[in-house]
């Protein structure tokens, strides 16, 4: 991992400042130099850090706008409160129970609502947050509108500090592992993430549940710190407070979240001087900061975060010499064809029968039949708007067909979700390039190894040897793919900064990382100059042989299609008008009329 030395030094300074601050604060508290008021304020800081980092996991990392965090905090707080009051259980038990309870509620709410997107999701989470509060307000066991009084009072800064640090480390480990890459992929482009084989629904619910669980932990700490809680502690405004901290810190940046949690928790104390106008100044500051720093107080998304992990890596390499050499572990298979377990290689790899789809009454594709033999290089051509991309969307599960069936390696795949289709062995690229734009080239490819990850959140947290080995394997395989596509020098560049031609190649690399046996390329040459197009042709042939692929491609560049493809299907107006070899296609009068046009001269 190469990073700018400046950036590295910058983050090292941040870490040092943070560490020193933490030590100083601890000494001050331990020696009793701070009066109880200030230690109590520090407790608030700790709780807010947990709330902010956990909401950041949902909003920033996974990109799912949730504004009902206070509801989960309430679940945790009341769980801890009730346990403490009725069963006198110790703090640790209460925290764990709060974690579990909030996680369960998170799954229950997340499952139905995470189908929604953007503002709809936001308003649904807001609604659930309010409903949780109203329910608590109406139950007997929660003490109704009056709340719970007499929870064991534990306002110990050290407890809160430890829990906060543990929470942050856990979230940090999750973000920095393969499941974390899946979450970021969802944020960057949900459809592309699906086609990388990521079950986006499951991962969104997981992130939501984990985020909620830690909000529950924060709630438990809050309950014990206050000894008295009521529904009015967990209103919509509380959720908004946390959201503001996350956005102000910079969405997706964990360090940003921490720094903004610290500063916004301490800000009211400083504004105390202008007490009377405090409530007016605070929102004014908020608006002004957003006007001048629309990306959040601490700037771009991953810089700080990535830099810290790089700095830690470097720190580690100082102690553990020679571990930095990345060699593919020999016991793990390199990417090649997946084992042909019981697959009959004589039967067609893909068979499409009577495929039709309607968009609002309009038949976009009608009665398409197509058969692809294993190892074929098949072209799909036709005028813009003829329905070519729609065919790809149906094969890859993005648009379930209205009629007809799709058989892949003899099995029905129509109606399966895209991630399952990818898992079955079909990969694709997109006409309007859908890279994870704000990730590096290397991370784009690494994310696509999702299906061969083979370890869970648990081993990422525990940093098990299998996790380390697998991560190293993914890294080296991703680099190997980049080399094949001649992108090795770009690995640390953000995908958005590549020229079109390289973006298209990166999409191919990413598709290959899912280890497909059928590859669908949607206008791979669009935006390329003739030289690049010629190179692309060689490349497509090469990867077909090297990875034992069958390739179906949509292309307008006739020179490429005619030279490359062995068979071609011509679509027009949603219907197949011809199928045959390039020469037959060139001569066919219907094709000429609809698409190629009469040869002038």
């Amino acid at each position: 991992m190469r990073r700018h030395p400046n950036q590295l030094r910058g983050s090292a300074i941040w870490i040092a400042v943070g560490a020193v601050a933490l030590v100083v604060v601890n000494i001050l508290v331990a020696t009793g130099s701070l009066d109880s008021y200030y230690t109590s304020v520090l407790g608030v800081v700790g709780i807010n850090i947990i709330l902010t980092t956990s909401l950041n996991l949902i909003n920033g990392i996974t990109g799912q706008l949730s504004i009902g965090h206070a509801g989960f905090m309430a679940v945790g707080a009341y769980t801890a409160g009730i346990l403490s009051m009725h069963f006198q259980t110790p703090l640790v038990v209460n925290i764990l129970a709060a974690f579990a309870a909030a996680a369960i509620v998170g799954v229950l709410i997340g499952l139905p609502t995470l189908r929604l997107r953007g503002d709809y999701l936001a308003i649904a989470t807001l609604g659930f947050g309010e409903i949780i509060r109203v329910v608590i307000q109406n139950l007997k066991i929660t003490g109704g509108a009056f709340g719970l009084i007499g929870i064991e009072w534990i306002d110990n800064f050290f407890y809160i500090e430890i829990v906060a640090i543990v929470s942050v480390i856990i979230i940090w480990r999750i973000v920095n592992s393969a499941p974390g890459r899946a979450l970021v992929a969802i944020r960057e482009d949900e459809i592309a993430a699906e086609t990388m084989g990521i079950n986006t629904t499951a991962y969104k619910v997981m992130a939501f549940a984990i985020g909620s669980a830690f909000a529950g932990v924060a709630g438990a700490l809050f309950a014990h710190r206050m000894a008295f809680i009521s529904p009015s502690d967990f209103t919509f405004l509380k959720s908004i407070d946390v959201l503001v901290m996350v956005v102000l810190g910079g969405l997706g940046s964990l360090t940003g979240a921490i720094i903004s949690a610290v500063s916004l928790s301490l800000l009211p104390e400083f504004l105390r001087v202008i007490d009377e106008w405090r409530m007016v100044i605070y929102p004014l500051l908020l608006v002004v900061v957003m006007l001048f720093r629309p990306q959040g107080l601490l700037g771009t998304k991953e810089v700080h975060f990535g830099a810290i992990s790089a700095a830690l890596q470097r720190l580690k390499s100082l102690f553990v010499k020679g571990e930095e050499h990345l060699e593919p572990a020999s016991d793990l298979p390199a990417i090649a064809t997946r084992e042909a377990d019981g697959v009959n290689t004589d039967e067609p790899i893909l068979e499409v029968r009577g495929l039709s789809i309607y968009f609002g009454g309009l038949k976009a594709v009608s009665d398409l039949n197509m058969t692809l033999q294993r190892g074929a290089l098949h072209g799909l051509i036709g005028p813009n708007g003829a329905g070519k991309t729609t065919v790809f969307n149906m094969i890859t599960g993005l648009h379930p067909p209205s009629e007809g069936e799709i058989l892949f390696e003899g099995k029905r795949i129509d109606g399966k979700p895209p991630h399952a289709v990818t898992a079955a062995g079909i990969a694709r690229t997109f006409q309007n390039i859908r890279l994870f734009k704000d990730l590096t080239v290397l991370d784009n490819v690494k994310t696509a190894f999702h299906l061969s990850t083979g370890y869970g959140v648990g081993s990422a947290l525990a940093y098990t040897p299998s996790y380390v080995a697998k991560e190293r394997w993914i890294d080296s395989e991703a680099r190997r793919l980049l080399e094949i596509l001649n992108l090795q020098d770009r690995s640390m560049e953000l995908a958005r900064n590549l020229p079109y031609g390289e973006q298209r190649r990166l999409e191919i690399a990413r598709a290959l990382a899912t280890r497909p046996s059928l590859l669908l390329l949607d206008e791979p040459a669009a935006g390329m100059n003739p030289q690049e197009t010629a190179d692309l042709m060689d490349l497509i042939r090469r990867i077909r042989d090297e990875f034992d692929l069958t390739i179906l491609l949509i292309e307008h560049d006739m020179s490429l299609v005619m030279q490359l493809c062995e068979r071609i299907t011509v679509l027009d107006y949603g219907m197949t008008i011809f199928e045959g070899t390039p020469d037959e296609v060139k001569r066919n009068p219907r094709v000429i009329e609809a698409y190629l046009g009469e040869e002038a001269g």
Binding site: G385, G527, M528, P530, S559, Y573
Partner: protein, 234 residues
């Protein structure tokens, strides 16, 4: 009438236009052809002010209109019929046409022009009270062109009018484009169907990865071997 010099556009890190040069003379039909992703639509969008140019100059009727706001450019008599039609889906056909005449206040003449559009596209007249989203693809394209005409443009930019239409309809649309031109409107046409475009155009430009690589009278271009190989399927 329209002159584009050394036009550059950046999208994020992508250099989408790298010095486009083109000129459109009064009364002409000029075709802009090239592969998907070559920058044809971006060129039109930059001329009409939807996309900001990062360098270069666009001149219309002798005035510099580079990066001028769209609504002012429309008022000068330059109207774009965008790719994918972009009609107002929830409005009726008549309301869509009225939107096209947004910059005008002469209600009598607007009515007259509306009838002219209906003469040009009799099918729109039949469906004048229908909500636009219920029209077929061809009718939507007609509506988009009709709406563009309602501003009485001196120069009409057409972006892929043939997209998604059956061959017969494509012919019909192109005949109408020719008729519009004969009535005195200058046309800059972006087309993926290069054959069709060059057959009605006076002059043509070929775009490749954000650059103008070739230009000349339409018939010459249509006979050019390179062009034939790349875009005409020859």
């Amino acid at each position: 009438m329209l002159r584009v010099e050394d036009l550059h556009v950046h999208y994020g890190g992508i250099h989408a236009l790298k010095g486009i040069e083109l000129a459109v003379g009064e009364g002409q039909i000029v075709a802009l052809i090239g592969a998907n992703g070559a920058g044809k639509s971006t060129t039109l969008n930059t001329i009409s002010g939807l996309v900001r140019a990062s360098g270069g100059r666009v001149e219309f009727l002798g005035k510099d209109i580079t990066n001028a706001p769209s609504h002012e450019i429309v008022r000068m008599g330059l109207c774009q019929v965008p790719e994918g039609r972009k009609i107002f889906p929830e409005m009726t056909v008549i309301e869509n046409l009225l939107m096209g005449a947004y910059i005008r206040n002469d209600s009598e003449e607007i009515k007259a022009d509306r009838d002219l559009v209906f003469d040009l596209f009799p099918r729109l007249k039949e469906r004048q009270h229908q909500v636009a989203s219920t029209l077929s693809g061809g009718e939507q394209q007609m509506l988009a062109i009709g709406r563009g005409l309602m501003s009485r443009p001196k120069l009409l930019l057409l972006d892929e009018p043939s997209m998604g239409l059956a061959p017969l309809l494509v012919k019909e649309i192109f005949n109408i484009v020719k008729a519009i031109n004969q009535q005195g409107t200058t046309i800059l046409l972006v087309e993926q169907n290069a054959n069709m475009a060059l057959s009605i155009a006076d002059y043509g430009y070929v775009l490749e990865t954000g650059r103008t690589v070739l230009h000349g009278p339409a018939q010459e271009l249509a006979a050019n071997e390179e062009v034939k190989a790349a875009y005409l399927g020859g």
